[in-house]
Symmetry: C2
């Protein structure tokens, strides 16, 4: 492709609305243009990167035995009523009435449509297993769309749905997708991790998220430095600290009251009493579906609300207001403690091994010292409630952890029979039993992969496309449009690279060298070939790798072979 033939409207200014780097670079590199909130046109260069992702996804899905189809974007509401999601889904589901006043919606996902197909087409165990996928434009009416392609309202998604005869067979289908996803993101040239995830609104029984690691992301994940373990913070189970010996209560003096006038936070109480936050327990009250419940954590720990919510099986939890705390416990916020507390109390597992500790006295301006858990108070339940942190050992191998930002690009769910039961999608097994289909569903945010790739691969000058996702692998800069020899050589290299099956982009514009260099960096071509003064003087061509600036000068005849070798290295490394 020639620059003169392709519309790539690069921008010098960073649009003010773009908060994250991928959004800024996608706009600056002319990859996308905003139509309205959360809705973008994929311009030719951006679309080319998306197509690279689509091709890899399609190849690996086909290789895993999945079959491509294409379902409608407009769906009748009655299917969503059957599954029960019409009520549950919330305002992200865009609903409308057509000209015949039939209630319809724009599909944010296709469990209902595919289950409707399944119940009509699959009748026997002989029809199974089946895995059907599509690559399609989806719509979710996000309340606050942002970050460009990271959280848009309209986006391209690959969604797949598997149907099996049994839980065991469904796990095999799940495993195939797990493997396919690992291959897909590896082939995309991305650094990623797979983590166990909370299943969220789709309501499955088990799920994994594939996260691209980046400096910024919407989720923090814990990653082991020593093994392949990784987890979402919300899901990261913490090893019970079983080795710690229980404090012998009889060797600790009886608990005593300490005046702490006006000291209401962990920080100020510790400073006031001259103790470390590890020596204090904090007590917090949550309202879970309207009912107050107290939680107890070491002073320096963070509650993982999802763990609490899941344990309680609550639909909704929130920190109690001051008045609610007082109404429930009779104690003011800032001085809450487990001793004599009258509401349900859940303690984080590490709490019971601590002591002596300081806790609130359940009255204003006072705490208690020398409190020994188990001796001075009991709890209703002890469980894993806190967020994992970098000082925790790896739950899998005991190694060291680090917390990194992750961008969710894939999500696989073991759905079980939730949809097939609700929508009556059943089959006959080998013994003639009538059973519900066992389902799985598997998503990849295709357009989001491009954004995530840029979040992970960029520098101040612009995008650094991983070779497999680059619209073009090489850019050739003709720095002497009016110089016959330079132009002839640039054209010759362009033709030779094309003939060698390397996607080359020729900057044949009549622009100054500076602006050509800048655009080449911004657009993120993995390799840059410069045909300019140096060639005119010495016959040498400069080949530069975008990622690390590694530069070589070679004779013109050697360029194609050298690039071929470099690209092969890159892809095998990815």
């Amino acid at each position: 492709m020639r620059y003169s033939q392709m519309l790539i409207p690069t921008l010098k200014e960073v649009p003010a609305e773009a908060e994250v780097i991928s959004h800024r670079l996608l706009l600056r590199a002319g990859c996308i243009r905003k139509l309205t909130a959360g809705i973008y046109t994929y311009m030719p260069y951006g679309l080319a990167a998306i197509r690279r992702v689509e091709t890899i996804v399609r190849e690996e899905m086909n290789r895993a035995g999945a079959q491509e189809l294409l379902m409608p974007m407009v769906q009748p509401a009655d299917l969503w009523q059957e599954s029960g999601r019409h009520e549950k889904y919330g305002p992200e589901l865009l609903r409308f009435r057509d000209r015949h006043d039939r209630e319809s919606c724009l599909g944010p996902t296709h469990e209902e449509v595919i289950t409707d197909i399944a119940r009509r087409e699959f009748h026997s165990y002989r029809d199974l297993p089946v895995n059907l996928y599509q690559i399609q434009t989806k719509f979710r009416d996000e309340i606050r769309p942002r970050f460009g392609l990271m959280r848009g309202r309209e986006f391209i998604m690959k969604d797949a749905y598997s149907f099996d005869v049994s839980d065991k067979a469904a796990e095999e289908s799940y495993r195939k997708m797990y493997d396919a996803y690992n291959r897909i993101f590896t082939r995309c040239g991305l650094e990623f991790r797979c983590v166990e995830a909370d299943s969220g609104a789709i309501g499955g029984s088990f799920s994994h998220e594939f996260m691209v690691l980046a400096a910024t992301g919407e989720d923090t994940i814990a990653v082991c430095n020593d093994c392949s373990w990784a987890a979402n913070l919300e899901k990261a189970a913490i090893r019970p600290t079983g080795t710690q010996t229980e404090v012998a209560g009889d060797r600790v003096p009886a608990m005593e009251r300490a005046e702490t006038p006006g000291q209401r936070t962990v920080k100020t109480v510790c400073e006031f009493l001259g103790i470390a936050p590890q020596q204090l327990l904090k007590t917090m009250v949550y309202i879970a579906d309207g009912v107050p419940v107290a939680v107890l954590l070491r002073g320096d720990r963070t509650l993982e609300e999802v763990k609490l919510k899941n344990h309680l099986g609550a639909k909704d939890i929130r920190l109690a207001e001051d008045q609610e705390v007082y109404d429930a416990t009779g104690a003011p916020v800032g001085y809450l403690g487990p001793v004599g507390l009258k509401i349900r109390l859940l303690a984080d597992q590490e709490v019971m091994g601590l002591g002596p500790v300081v806790v609130g006295a359940n009255e204003k301006n006072a705490h208690l010292r020398n409190v020994v858990p188990g001796r001075d108070f009991q709890t209703d339940e002890v469980l894993d409630l806190r967020q994992i942190c970098e000082s925790d050992p790896c739950p899998a191998c005991g190694g060291t952890l680090r917390l990194v930002e992750g961008i969710e690009v894939g999500h696989i769910f073991k759905l079980g029979t939730a949809y097939s039961e609700a929508m009556n999608a059943r089959f006959q097994d080998q013994e003639g039993n009538d059973l519900p289909l066992v389902m799985g569903c598997y998503g990849i945010g295709v357009s989001r992969v491009v954004a995530a790739a840029i979040e992970q691969n960029h520098d101040d000058a612009g995008i650094i496309f991983p070779v497999p996702l680059a619209p073009f692998q090489v850019v050739i800069l003709n720095l002497g449009i009016k110089d016959e020899a330079i132009t002839a050589m640039a054209e010759r290299l362009y033709a030779e690279l094309g003939a060698a099956g390397i996607d080359a982009f020729l900057d044949d514009r009549d622009e100054r060298p500076g602006s050509k260099f800048k655009d080449a960096d911004l657009l993120g071509f993995p390799y840059r070939i410069t045909v300019g003064k140096r060639f005119a003087e010495s016959g040498l061509i400069e080949v530069r790798r975008r990622r690390d600036g590694f530069t070589e000068e070679v004779e013109a005849v050697a360029v194609v072979d050298m690039l071929r070798a470099r690209l092969d290295e890159d892809v095998s490394k990815d």
Copy 2:
């Protein structure tokens, strides 16, 4: 692909709702499944055919210098208000409000979005010409969706938009698309014609339709048997019959009254008076935007209402009710005539050369004989008003015409500056003048092409896919799943064809031969290879062409070369 690995849910019964052959066959061959009125899932086999069309379209659009992008399906209503189409478009435009109560719509076409991009990105003649296209799912809320993929509500379309500096440059862009469309439909292996068309709601200044010829269609077109001329009936200009000498009024007796009691139709009047319909003029009254106007045609001709409407520049025309006719002319329907008529009278061009003729007397139960046009009555205008018919000479070469059914699969429009003026999309020309962009738009109904291909290519047994659109070019029937030698040979041929780059489909199901033959015919594979009894007995393989049943028996080693040769013949013929 193996049949055992692909979901092709064929049906034996023809679904009652399917009125046209392509709809019936697409359902029966498991290509599509209905979700709701006018909305279908493209099942794997159907999607594969659609992808064939997409690939051809994409290659030819790129070859013509057009660039692919992808615009959103959800569009803000304010753009449609700017262009003026929000009011004009009617209820086919699906409108809704998003969660923030912003008026939006589902894009049935993308002139507004692309013009918005153009006005932001194109500022100078140096940015032009540009032609941008997308292949995308569109939605039109048809009041009566029908015929499966022929007139659905959700469908796949390729739409392209060109931007030029001048009318002349825009014509060159138009010509490139005209040529590309001819290549596309030729490469698809379809018999088609290009006709001048009425521009319709998009409101252009010039347009051509590409029609696939079939036994059934939504439009009748006139085609010359002797040259490449073809036209929509609505647009087919009829050669003025200028050679006919005018009737010498003085050699015809004066007109006289003829009693025609109760004779109100052309047929009965002619029988009653013993004349041919060619000797009678019929007078009809239309209401054009509320105003009555009379038209005069030879008795055996059909008025082409579009010609009348376009000539009058009317928004709406309809045949007048009996009472309206009486109110306007004082004459009863059935006895209307041009002599003494008091309202505006338009005569078809051939009328004035006729005579003597019979016309209505403008009073009940009476006609007039020996009426000579021009002598006995005058008209306000004489123009081309009637529908062309097979007895007319070709307007281009004078050859003979035939009327055939056409299915519109492509439409190209010269839009001019309608959108760029309305939306203020302007550029500076070489002299610094500020001018509106000159636009064209170019559509192909991608999913409809598959339906049209089937309407044109089928028989009682099923689909006959043209080679370029067939999901697989060859089916191999293994008729001895339990026979080792037969199965080994079927597998060997499958592998060899794959290695030779021929898309083969292996029917490896454990089904009876009869049902395999039936499915092979229904699914429309261009070639069928049978490995069965005959091979077991004599080592011969049967190769049969679906289109004409031409059958050859060859040694196994010769199969691949033979098929390669046959396929090459087919494609070069297409």
